[in-house]
């Protein structure tokens, strides 16, 4: 799983998806597509965004929650601990 984090983050559209989920967690595919188009000028197709979400899911950064007939995407920053655990930032150094 750790290897997938870096691949998942190595794309501007996927980082924008994480930014938008950080602002409002639990979005439909349509809402994410709209935000990417209107706020980031990213004219990705729905299929492309769906594939980006698959990559983020494989990395554990996005989880999908089905609620009735809806499908919502949620942010999970848990896997990012791997990064600071490996290369601690100065202000969070080991005690």
């Amino acid at each position: 799983m750790a290897a997938d984090i870096y691949k998942a983050l190595a794309d501007a559209t996927r980082r924008a998806i994480l930014d938008e989920l950080q602002e409002r967690d639990g979005q439909s595919l349509f809402e994410l597509c709209t935000r990417l188009t209107m706020r980031h000028g990213l004219g990705s197709t729905r299929q492309a965004v769906s594939q980006h979400l698959d990559v983020l899911q494989e990395a554990g950064l996005v989880t999908v929650r089905r609620e009735g007939r809806y499908k919502f995407h949620h942010l999970d920053t848990g896997p990012l601990r791997e990064i600071t655990a490996r290369w601690p930032a100065p202000d969070q150094g080991e005690s």
Partner: protein
């Protein structure tokens, strides 16, 4: 010249849809004409434009409609989009009446949008144009 006169959404239950679209959203009934079986030619209009575009609340009985609607709802895609003058106020009003929003008012630049569930198998977008 060609005119836009009728647009439609497929609704699971026409009577329930009439209640939702008139009683909650605020449209007014226009035409209600019996068709075959229990189906009706059922349209509503905006009170601001009684002779304007009619919204047809169309029966969902065709077998293709169910999978079509389910796929749209799963991905959060609205079946229709309606304009409002004050989306924040509409959101407050409808939420208080128990309407479920899957997306609260969100600023998308030229437009603020929100998405609600019409309880008849569709997501509906409300849009307020800015500027």
């Amino acid at each position: 010249m060609i005119h836009l006169t009728v647009t439609s959404v497929f609704v699971d239950d026409q009577s329930k849809a009439l209640d939702f679209y008139t009683g909650l959203l605020g449209f007014v009934p226009k035409n209600d004409i019996p068709l075959g079986g229990d189906d009706r030619w059922l349209t509503v209009v905006s009170p601001a434009a009684p002779d304007g575009v009619e919204l047809l609340l169309e029966p969902s009985s065709h077998p293709a409609v169910g999978p079509y609607k389910a796929a749209l709802v799963e991905d959060g895609i609205p079946a229709a989009s309606f304009g409002v003058d004050d989306l924040a106020a509409e959101y407050e009003r409808l939420t208080a009446l128990g309407v479920r929003f899957v997306q609260p008012p969100t600023d998308m630049g030229p437009v603020i949008v929100a998405t609600l569930d019409d309880t008849c198998g569709n997501l509906i977008q409300l849009a307020q144009h800015q500027g």
